[in-house]
C-alpha cells in the first residue's frame, strides 16, 4: 500500500489503453502476461453479471414492498427511513463484514450488494406511488378496477419516472461497489485496482477507466429504458 511502484513508474492514459488491448508482462507474476482484451472482457462480464444478479435480488425484495406500501399509504417511516439510513452504510465496511463474518464467494457478495440496492428502490417506489394524483385513482376505482389493477395499470405507469430513478440509483451504487468484490473473492474489474502490484500502474488506471465506462453505459441504458417505459401522455404533459 505504500505505492512505491507507482511513484517509480508513473501511470499514463496511453499505457492504460495499451493495457486494455494488449497483454503486458508483469514484474510480479514471473513473466506471465496480464491484462489484454480477453481478461478485460472476462472481468467486465463478471462485474456486469454480479451487478445484475444483485440488482435483481434488490428489486425482488424492494419493488413489491415499496409499491404495496405506497398503494396502502402506510409504512412511510419504514420506506423513507430505510432509504435515509441506507446511505450511511459504508460500502467497504459492508463488504469487509460480509467477507469476514459469513465468508467470501458469489452468493455472499450478491447479498451484500443487494443490501445496498434495496433502500433507494424501496424509497422511490413508495414515494412515486404516493405522489400519484388521487383523481385518476378514484376514477379507476369508480370504474370497478381491482386494487391490484389500479396499482399496476394506473399508479405504476404514472410513477415510472420516480420508480426508475430509484432503480438507477441502486444500479450505480451496486456497480460501483462491485468494483471492490475481489476483496471477497469475486474477480471483477476492480481486480486491476485492488491487486495493483500485479497489474502495475497502467493496469490500475485501465481498471479505473473501465469501471467508469461500465457505470456510464449502465446509467445511459437505464435512462433509455426509462424513456421507453414512460407513457406518451406523461411526456406530452412534461414538454
Amino acid at each position: 500500500m505504500t505505492g512505491a511502484l507507482l511513484t517509480l513508474v508513473p501511470a499514463s492514459f496511453g499505457g492504460a489503453i495499451e493495457f486494455i488491448f494488449e497483454p503486458q508482462s508483469s514484474s510480479v507474476t514471473g513473466g506471465n502476461k496480464v491484462g489484454g482484451l480477453d481478461q478485460v472482457v472476462e472481468l467486465t462480464l463478471n462485474q456486469l453479471e454480479l451487478t445484475l444478479l444483485a440488482l435483481t435480488v434488490s428489486m425482488l425484495v424492494a419493488l413489491p414492498l415499496g409499491l404495496y406500501l405506497g398503494h396502502r399509504g402506510t409504512g412511510e417511516l419504514l420506506a423513507v427511513g430505510l432509504g435515509n439510513a441506507g446511505r450511511a452504510i459504508p460500502e467497504l465496511g459492508l463488504i469487509a463484514f460480509m467477507a469476514a463474518a459469513i465468508g467470501v464467494g458469489w452468493r455472499n457478495i450478491v447479498i451484500a450488494l443487494a443490501v445496498l440496492g434495496i433502500p433507494p428502490i424501496l424509497t422511490n417506489a413508495f414515494v412515486g406511488i404516493r405522489q400519484v394524483d388521487r383523481a385518476p385513482v378514484d376514477a379507476a376505482r369508480g370504474m370497478g378496477m381491482s386494487e391490484l389493477a389500479i396499482l399496476l395499470r394506473v399508479e405504476l405507469p404514472l410513477a415510472i419516472p420516480t420508480v426508475m430513478a430509484g432503480i438507477r440509483g441502486a444500479t450505480i451504487a451496486i456497480v460501483a461497489t462491485a468494483t471492490i468484490a475481489p476483496l471477497a473473492g469475486v474477480l471483477t474489474l476492480g481486480d486491476f485496482i485492488i491487486n495493483r502490484n500485479v497489474y502495475g500502474p497502467d493496469g490500475l488506471l485501465a481498471g479505473a477507466i473501465l469501471v467508469a465506462l461500465l457505470a456510464l453505459v449502465l446509467e445511459f441504458s437505464l435512462a433509455g429504458l426509462q424513456r421507453a417505459l414512460t407513457s406518451k401522455g406523461l411526456k406530452v404533459s412534461a414538454a
Binding site: M1, T2, G3, L6, T7, P10, A11, S12, F13, N84, R87, A88, I89, P90, E91, L92, G93, L94, A96, F97, A99, A100, A101, V104, I172, V175, A176, T179, I180, L183, G190, I193, I194, N197, P201, L204, L205, G207, A208, I209, V211, A212, A215, L216, E219
Partner: protein, 252 residues
C-alpha cells in the same frame, strides 16, 4: 479467512520446542479471541486498541469536511449562476450527473496521472460526487419559491440581488440543506474507500496491507462511520432550524 490467524500461524509453527499434539489439543477456545474464525466481537482487543481508531477517525472527518465544503461551494455557485439562465440548467445537470455516475473508486485513480495517489485525489473525487445532489436541490428550492412572493418583493422595491439573497435563498433553505444532508451522509460512507487510494480515513480499519482486517476492527470502524454520518445529519438539521426560525413559528 481470518487475517490474524494467518499472520499468527507461521511464528507459532516456527517455535520448535512445543510438544507433539500441541496444535491439535489446543481447542480454538483457548486461542486469543482475535485468532478465532468468525468471532463477532472481541472486547479485550477492543479495550486495548480503541485508541488506534482516533487518528483514522480524525482523518475521515477531515476528508469529509473538506470534500463536502468544496462540493457545496462549487454546486451552490453553479446553481446561483444557472438560476436566471435557464438554458444553462440542462447541460449543467447532465455534467454533474456524469460526475455522480462515475464510481468514486474509479474517480480516485482516473486522477492518478494528474494528482497522483493520496488525499488530494480522494477529496477531488468525493467533492465531484456531491455536486449533483446539491446543485439539483438548490435549483429546485429556488424554483419552488412562489411567484407571488417574488412579485411582492419586487413591489417593495427590492433589487434582483436582494430578492435572491433576502427572499429566495432563505425560502429555499430547507431544500438546500436536504441536499447537503444527503451529500454529507453519502460522503461519510464513501470516504471509507479512500484507503484504496492511500488516502487514510476509517477505511484503514477495514482493510490494511492488502488484507481485510478482522471482524472486531470492522465492526468498530463501521459503527464509528455510521455514528459520524448520523452526527453530521443532526448538526445540519440543527443549522437548518436556526436558519429558518419562521418555520418553527408556523408549526408551533
Amino acid at each position: 479467512m481470518n487475517a490474524f490467524a494467518a499472520a499468527l500461524a507461521p511464528p507459532l509453527a516456527a517455535v520448535g520446542e512445543v510438544g507433539e499434539g500441541f496444535f491439535k489439543e489446543r481447542s480454538s477456545d483457548t486461542l486469543p479471541c482475535q485468532a478465532r474464525e468468525g468471532h463477532l466481537f472481541c472486547f479485550d482487543w477492543a479495550k486495548e486498541n480503541i485508541g488506534s481508531f482516533g487518528t483514522p477517525t480524525l482523518q475521515h472527518l477531515e476528508i469529509v469536511a473538506i470534500s463536502v465544503a468544496a462540493g457545496f461551494a462549487t454546486a451552490f455557485a453553479l446553481a446561483l449562476f444557472a438560476h436566471r439562465r435557464h438554458w444553462l440548467q440542462p447541460p449543467l445537470l447532465a455534467a454533474t450527473g456524469v460526475l455522480y455516475t462515475v464510481p468514486s473508486i474509479a474517480f480516485f485513480f482516473l486522477l492518478l496521472p494528474i494528482t497522483g495517489l493520496g488525499r488530494d485525489s480522494v477529496i477531488i473525487a468525493l467533492s465531484a460526487y456531491t455536486l449533483q445532489i446539491i446543485y439539483r436541490n438548490t435549483l429546485a428550492g429556488l424554483a419552488n419559491v412562489p411567484d407571488s412572493v417574488r412579485d411582492a418583493a419586487r413591489g417593495m422595491g427590492l433589487t434582483e440581488r436582494q430578492i435572491l439573497w433576502r427572499v429566495e435563498l432563505p425560502l429555499a433553505t430547507p431544500e438546500i440543506v436536504a441536499g447537503l444532508r444527503i451529500a454529507t451522509v453519502s460522503t461519510v460512507a464513501i470516504a471509507t474507500l479512500a484507503v484504496l487510494a492511500s488516502g487514510g480515513g476509517l477505511g484503514v480499519k477495514f482493510y490494511t496491507g492488502g488484507n481485510l482486517t478482522f471482524l472486531t476492527s470492522i465492526v468498530i470502524a463501521g459503527a464509528i462511520a455510521i455514528l459520524m454520518a448520523l452526527a453530521f445529519d443532526v448538526v445540519l438539521l440543527g443549522i437548518q432550524r436556526l436558519l429558518t426560525p419562521w418555520r418553527r413559528a408556523a408549526a408551533g
